[in-house]
């Protein structure tokens, strides 16, 4: 892992509201190489915003600032909309949470995939279709030819999620941002989806930014974990070192999930400490 794909320093995202201006992301720095990086944290901690800011697709009112925010050598902050279009999909793409809402309801699934491919590759429709079918097969869809012609409402959640993955992977991007790609799925399907994602990413050497609130899941799946709380990265450590996590929040997150193999009378709940807001953060188990 020589040069990181993404290098972000001191990213801040601000919103204006009735209660004055409000910072949702407060000065975070991280890098992502050709690896699987998990971002965890409770709802509202700024995970999605961080992910979207890399594509410059944050909501209208959001004001982004950073010391730098680079994709390879391109400064994303400076990049024009035209430049961003060549980056989106082609170099960085994003799997959205809920296939039910994230696919265009009136467009056949195949066409949506083909569109994603042809945007960045000048090929004949027929060829694009072949590619799309191959991609559908790659995400373990049993009857690609049939599914190609379905509408989004005609596929199940698990299938939808796989289709999203196929669609986002087909242009062969360098980095994929997956925003809670499995939280709407039940355990069986979730496992399949993760396996596929893992396969594809490791085969191609794509970077993956995996957003979730389930620390246990992320830990088992990713190489590195960033723990976010209230717009800050509290902890940044390799997944393998999770047991060395220093921040009480991280520790509590680990304990908060009920486990089959480890019954407890009462689950541990992170007791949020106001001091965390501006308190110390940890990198690789040491104070940063």
């Amino acid at each position: 892992m020589d040069k990181p794909l993404i290098d972000v320093k001191d990213l801040r995202i601000r919103f204006e509201s009735a209660h004055g201006s409000h910072e949702a992301v407060r000065g975070i720095s991280f890098t992502i190489g050709r690896e699987k990086v998990g971002i965890v944290g409770e709802s509202g901690s700024g995970k999605s915003l961080t992910g979207r800011s890399l594509l410059k697709l944050t909501p209208k009112g959001a004001k982004i600032s950073a010391t730098h925010m680079r994709f390879r050598d391109i400064d994303l902050l400076e990049a024009s909309e035209r430049k961003m279009r060549t980056i989106r999909g082609n170099h960085i793409s994003m799997i959205l949470q809920d296939p039910k809402y994230s696919l265009n309801p009136l467009m056949r699934i195949g066409n949506q995939i083909v569109e994603a491919y042809r945007l960045h590759h000048r090929v004949q429709p027929a060829e694009a279709k072949t590619r799309a079918l191959a991609m559908l097969e790659a995400v373990h869809i049993r009857d690609p030819e049939r599914v190609f012609h379905l509408f989004p409402h005609e596929v199940s959640g698990g299938m939808g999620q796989r289709i999203m993955i196929a669609m986002m992977l087909i242009p062969e991007p360098d980095l994929i941002i997956a925003d809670e790609p499995t939280s709407a799925l039940d355990v069986t399907v979730r496992r399949q989806v993760l396996t596929i994602l893992d396969e594809l990413v490791s085969r191609r050497g794509t970077g993956l930014m995996f957003i979730s609130h389930d620390l246990n899941l992320v830990a088992s799946f990713c190489d590195r974990v960033l723990v976010m709380y209230a717009g800050r990265i509290m902890e940044d450590l390799p997944a393998g070192d999770l047991h060395k996590a220093r921040h009480p929040y991280t520790q509590a997150l680990l304990e908060s999930l009920p486990r089959l193999d480890h019954p407890v009378e009462e689950l541990k709940v992170p007791v949020r400490d106001a001091a965390w807001l501006n308190g110390p953060v940890y990198r690789n188990g040491v104070l940063a």
Partner: protein, 358 residues
């Protein structure tokens, strides 16, 4: 104006008896057609009873101000007004069923014939108007939604509102003063210049079509010169409504997740809007357009007056003002049928174009 709204048909799961295909087909037909008939019947009944309630005495308006009482009573009998109400209603319903609305008092011709004459003029005008209104209104609405809050949005909204709230007759007369009297760019009021009036053999009643069919391009130009201004003014009004509704539908769609997906793919904003979002509002927009169209057919009275357009709106209003109930009834039913069938048409569109309802 109204929003036609479509519910996804609710499933009334009843008995689990094995369905007979014939019964099912009948049921589906019943479910779509029965409401149509009920609506039409309701419309007919309402028209009739309201017609009898009107303060206008049709007999007096036929016979004129100085008719004798004897003549008055004779005419009253001739119109069947001395019979009990239910009997009159029966006669009336029977007439409707055989598409016979009787004679129009104002013209002395059968109402059906009158409508056949005035309606094409209005359809021609309204169709051109709706083409103008749609052709400009939809893009305007989409663009306004795309640049929501910007000056473009405000400009579109403002322009639209002028079309919506400026009185038609004023716009019409000013348009005439400007384009007809001052610049001489267009033909004046009326459907055609008198010189050409006898050059058209009525085939469809739509002058634009008739002239094309007959290859009379000179006449076509004259006809077009006459229709373009009133159509633009009506279209302007329709534009306002269509663009507003389009804007609001589009804004709703643009807030959806799949728009983000499209952009993540690297699609340009314009293409996202036009290809992805617009497709999802198309049917709703068609509904709005259809409804505007229906209203144009019914209610362009003032424009028709200013442009001396021998159309349906004026015919209906005039009939109403002189208490010509036969004509009023015929027209009302026609309007009702148009409304109901446009409703039905939009319903079908939903079924056909929205795969979720199939």
């Amino acid at each position: 104006m109204a929003d036609i709204v479509h519910s996804v048909p609710r499933s009334d799961a009843g008995d689990v008896v094995k369905p007979n295909p014939l019964v099912v087909a009948l049921k589906i037909a019943g479910r779509t057609l029965l409401p149509v008939f009920v609506t039409l019947f309701g419309l007919a009944a309402l028209t009739f009873f309201i017609g009898r309630m009107l303060p206008i005495d049709p007999v007096a308006s036929i016979l004129g101000d100085n008719a004798t009482q004897e003549a008055y009573e004779k005419m009253s009998r001739a119109l069947g007004m001395d019979k009990p109400l239910w009997y009159q209603f029966g006669v009336y319903v029977k007439g409707i069923l055989s598409l016979d609305f009787g004679q129009a008092l104002t013209t002395g011709k059968p109402v059906v014939e009158d409508i056949a004459r005035v309606f094409p003029a209005t359809i021609e005008l309204a169709t051109l108007a709706i083409i103008i209104g749609t052709g400009l209104g939809i893009p305007a609405g989409v663009v306004a939604a795309m640049y929501r809050g910007s000056w473009i949005d405000q400009a579109i909204r403002f322009t639209g509102l002028i079309g919506y709230s400026a009185p038609n007759f004023w716009l019409g007369l000013m348009g005439l003063v400007l384009f007809y009297a001052t610049f001489g760019w267009i033909g004046g009021p009326g459907r055609i210049d008198f010189i050409y009036e006898f050059d058209i053999e009525p085939i469809t009643g739509f002058y634009l079509i008739d002239t094309v069919v007959q290859g009379k391009w000179e006449v076509f130009r004259n006809v077009f010169g006459h229709i373009i201004l009133p159509a633009s003014i009506l279209g302007f009004g329709a534009l306002a409504y269509i663009s507003r509704m389009t804007r609001s539908f589009m804004i709703e769609q643009l807030g959806q997740e799949y728009i983000v997906t499209a952009r993540v793919k690297g699609l340009s904003w314009g293409r996202t809007v036009w290809v992805h979002a617009f497709r999802n509002v198309a049917v709703q927009v068609v509904t709005v357009v259809a409804l505007s169209y229906a209203f144009l057919l019914e209610g362009a009275v003032l424009t028709e007056t200013v442009f001396a357009w021998p159309g349906f709106g004026r015919y209906l209003t005039n009939a109403l003002l002189v208490g010509d109930m036969n004509a009023v009834v015929g027209c009302s039913l026609l309007v009702g049928i148009i409304f109901v069938s446009l409703n039905l048409f939009c319903d079908l569109l939903y079924r056909v174009f929205d795969p979720r309802t199939r």
